[in-house]
Amino acid sequence: MGGRSRVAAQLLSGMGFRDVYNVAGGIRAWNGAKAEGPVEFHLEFLTQGDTPARILPLSFNMEKALEDFYLAVKEQTGDQDLSATVTKLAEIEHKHQERIMSLGETLGVERDDFDDAEEGRDRRMEGGIDVEEFLAANKEFLNDVEGILNVAMIIETQALDLYLRIARDVKNDLTANALYALANEEKQHLALLGDLLDVKLEEKSAT
C-alpha cells in the first residue's frame, strides 16, 4: 500500500519544511520490491484565487468528492466494519458541505458560485474532481478493505492539507476558523480510518 507518504510529504512542505523527500516505493522498495502507489485526487483547481467566493466552492467540491467516494465504497464493499465507517464518514462530509454553504452565505458568496463550481467538477480540464475517474484510476488499489482504507486516508490527508494551507493564508478570521474546524474533523477521520486499518491488518495476519 503506497501513496500515504506522498500526501504526508505535501502536508509537511505546506507546513514550512524545506527539505522533504517522499521515499518512492516505501518499505517495499526498501526491501527490494518495485511498487506503484494509488493516485490522489486531481487538485489543479487550487491554483485559483483567494477570495471566499473561490475557496468555499472548491472546498465544497472536495467534500462532495469525499462523500461520493465513501458512498461508492459503501455500495461495493461486503465488509461490515468498513461499511459502517464509510456510512458515518459520508454523513459527516455531507454536513461539511452544508457548513461550507452556510459559511458562504454569511460571507456573501453567491449561490451561483457554488453551482458553477459544481458544474466544473465533471470537467476535467477545469480541474474538477471526477470520482468515477478517480475510482477507475485506482481500481487495482481498491480490491480489499486495506486498500480502500489506504486510499481513503490519502484523500482525507489531501482535504486536511487543503484546509490547512488555505486557512493559513486566508485574511478573514471567520473563514480561517471554519477551515481549521473542518481540518480538525478530517484529522479525526484519519484517526478513525487508521484505527480500522490496524484492526483489519491484525485480522488478516491472524488468519
Binding site: 500515504r4 504526508a8 505546506g14 522533504v20 523527500y21 518499505i27 483567494d50 486499518l197
Partner: protein, 73 residues
C-alpha cells in the same frame, strides 16, 4: 494565497538514494518518518524511522525542526 505554493512538487528519493544518504549522514541531522499505522510499523520498518501515523502528523510536525531534511515513507 500564493499561486503555485500549493503545488510545490514533492521530491522523491528511491530506496538506494535513502540508503546512501543514511550511510553518509549522522543520526539526528535528518528525520526519517514512517507515516503508516502502528501495526504496520511493528511488523517491519526502516531502521531509525520515527513512527508518526498520518492522523498525528500535524501535531508531531510542530515538534520537528523544519530546517532538517525529512524523508517520509
Amino acid at each position: 494565497m500564493r499561486i503555485g505554493k500549493l503545488f510545490s512538487p514533492v521530491r522523491s528519493a528511491d530506496a538506494d538514494e535513502l540508503r546512501a544518504y543514511m550511510a553518509s549522514h549522522d543520526e539526528g541531522t535528518y528525520t526519517l518518518l514512517d507515516v503508516r499505522q502502528p501495526g504496520e510499523y511493528e511488523k517491519e520498518h526502516i531502521p531509525g524511522a520515527k513512527l508518526v501515523p498520518l492522523a498525528q502528523l500535524t501535531e508531531a510536525a510542530t515538534d520537528m525542526d523544519p530546517d532538517k531534511p525529512v524523508y517520509v515513507y
